[in-house]
């Protein structure tokens, strides 16, 4: 256990820039955008007159609707964090078993009494838990700072931030949902993670190419076979990979459930395999589905192959 923790720490040290600096930069951009927004208002607007008007107008809107919009905003704020997180994890895993082969530092890592299984576990854990949790913490902190800043501005402008927005939504619920969706996504994405580690373990160079080419070829073949069978493209335009992506338990987009009822959505609401509303049970539905079971089997094969290759990485 100590060894595993030490190896996870090593992954964090090596990838501090991606795991910690990147979300901090996003948080910084959010704050900068807010400050710029206020300065812009101040510049064109005498003493924030129209902002005051706007706040007064908002204060009179329907409380229930305001509460719904607020929750949606809380959650949607995570989308930029989640998107960048997905890229960070993608490239992290792609380099995870490749970089130390390239610079030969694998010979040092292999001189430590840590098994290859433990090494792979530490890298997978970093991708599934460490990176998402750090991104989530910084998302929450950014959120808190922005709410505090906005409360101060609202107070200065003579409105009550508590009745205006603070009391109308439960940020803890939004934060909890986002964190849950991160963990659910870590499991949902395991076939991809396994694939990336496998590519990382075998590719002699340019792992990105090896990672992308086979799925693209498969996707095109699938589309073509489908076209031959049905002579139409509508039937299954997105294919297997499209379905996997659209059904993700990650909060990626919004959905309109009818009049005055819109909110964030899990994945992209273009498929009907799963309910896309953001609830814990909908996330669990995906994790405990047969699709997931097949996905886990595929992930196990990929990870097993990655481990096999890792054991032989110093062969020549």
């Amino acid at each position: 256990m100590n060894r595993l923790m030490a190896l996870v720490k090593r992954e964090f040290w090596e990838n501090k820039g991606a795991f910690r600096t990147t979300p901090l930069v996003i948080g910084g951009i959010f704050l900068a955008a807010m400050v710029m927004f206020l300065i812009t208002f101040n510049h064109f607007d005498n003493e924030f007159q129209s902002l005051k008007e706007l706040l007064r107008f908002i204060a009179q809107t329907d409380v229930e609707m305001r509460s719904k919009i607020l929750s949606a905003i809380h959650i949607e704020m995570s989308v930029i964090f989640s998107t960048v997180l997905a890229f960070v994890v993608f490239f992290y895993l792609l380099g995870s078993l490749y970089d130390d082969r390239k610079d030969r530092s694998i010979l040092f890592w292999k001189s430590l009494p840590a098994s290859d299984t433990l090494t792979i576990a530490s890298k997978l854990l970093s991708a599934m838990i460490v990176a998402p949790v750090i991104f989530w913490i910084i998302y929450v902190l950014t959120h808190i700072v922005i709410m505090a800043l906005f409360s101060v501005v609202v107070m200065i402008l003579g409105e009550n931030p508590w009745t205006l927005f603070l009391s109308l939504s439960n940020p803890f619920e939004s934060w909890g949902l986002v964190l849950m969706s991160y963990f659910a996504q870590s499991i949902w994405a395991l076939p991809l993670y396994g694939w990336l580690m496998l590519v990382s373990a075998f590719s002699p160079r340019i792992p990105l190419l090896f990672a992308i080419l086979p799925p693209v070829v498969l996707g095109v073949l699938e589309l073509w076979v489908d076209f031959l069978k049905t002579f139409t493209l509508n039937e299954n335009l997105f294919g297997l990979f499209g379905h996997w992506f659209a059904n993700s338990p990650l909060i990626m987009s919004g959905d309109d459930h009818g009049e005055n009822d819109f909110g964030p959505a899990l994945g992209i609401p273009i498929t009907s395999d799963f309910d896309h509303e953001v609830t814990v049970s909908n996330m669990l539905d995906r994790i405990f589905s047969t699709d997931m079971l097949i996905g886990l089997a595929i992930a196990a094969v990929f990870l097993g192959a990655a481990l096999w290759l890792r054991r032989r990485a110093t062969e020549s």
Binding site: A6, W13, K110, S111, L112
Partner: protein
């Protein structure tokens, strides 16, 4: 008695070549063994098998463990420096120490800091900021702070200047080596290690060409330097090898009668490098 390294029929095959060809090898503890061979002779392949870094055929036991199936456990008892440039470049010295400490049960932080205090390496340095020589010092400091029974060094001083190289082996000998430990070294710079070796193994084309203690080497091999007019007489005694230096002829003999040789010219113990050249050019015999 049990050996630190016990290999029987050790063979390493690549697709087209046989790098290690059916080697039998026993190394007891408390030795400093030099594994010497030309490029591509199979040294690194043999070491990789011993360290569990590559698959092999035959029986191989290192400290009673099988390197192929038990690498992680074996690494608690074995340290190796593969060459000077394998420490991860991004890591800071304090991170390296903390990491080794939490993964290696036999690592002593105090010892490591003590070794480092005599160098210019600081805890806050990143490996990529260090010179090649400092990286070697750092790696050696880490390895010497781990209390293991077998240390394997594969070209540990490659590309270092002479000052670092001398210092490296001095430290190893004075601060680290004792009769409980075994050190296995490969290097091309034979002259620098021949004084610290207790055993010598020559390897050629995947086979062992010589396996002997240094004492036996000094007993069995003798070099004779003669003036040109005595060369023919020396040749009569069937030397292994002959070369010319500044107009004098130098012959190398195995198991020769020293008394007889002394009558022809000057007799001395050959250097490992000269012995190496003689045996390697002597061919398969």
């Amino acid at each position: 008695m049990s050996y630190v390294i016990d290999a029987q029929g050790l063979t390493k095959r690549y697709k087209r070549t046989i790098a290690v060809d059916n080697i039998d090898l026993q190394i007891p503890s408390g030795r400093i063994v030099g594994l010497i061979g030309p490029n591509g002779a199979g040294k690194t392949s043999a070491l990789k098998a011993i360290l569990g870094l590559a698959t092999y055929e035959g029986n191989l036991s290192v400290l009673g463990k099988s390197p192929a199936s038990d690498r992680a456990a074996l690494m608690e008892e074995v340290c190796f420096i593969a060459d000077v440039a394998v420490l991860p470049r991004w890591i800071r010295v304090w991170q390296l120490i903390e990491l080794t400490e939490s993964i290696h049960p036999k690592f002593s932080r105090e010892k490591c800091l003590q070794y480092l205090s005599s160098t210019k390496v600081t805890l806050d340095h990143r490996v990529k900021q260090l010179s090649k020589g400092m990286v070697a010092q750092l790696h050696l400091a880490i390895v010497m702070s781990i209390d293991v029974k077998l240390l394997v060094l594969d070209e540990p001083t490659l590309g270092l200047d002479i000052l670092f190289r001398k210092q490296f082996y001095t430290n190893l000998l004075n601060d680290y080596f004792d009769e409980e430990r075994t050190i296995l070294i490969t290097t091309h710079q034979v002259e620098e290690i021949e004084h610290i070796l207790s055993d010598l193994i020559f390897i050629q084309d995947g086979k062992i060409a010589l396996n002997s203690t240094m004492d036996d080497v000094q007993q069995n091999y003798v070099e004779l330097m003669v003036a040109p007019d005595q060369a023919a007489a020396a040749r009569e005694l069937q030397p292994m090898n002959e070369r010319e230096l500044f107009g004098r002829h130098i012959f190398l003999f195995e198991n020769a009668n020293r008394q007889q040789l002394k009558e022809l010219g000057e007799v001395r113990t050959p250097s490992v490098a000269d012995l190496f050249v003689a045996i390697m050019s002597g061919g398969e015999s």
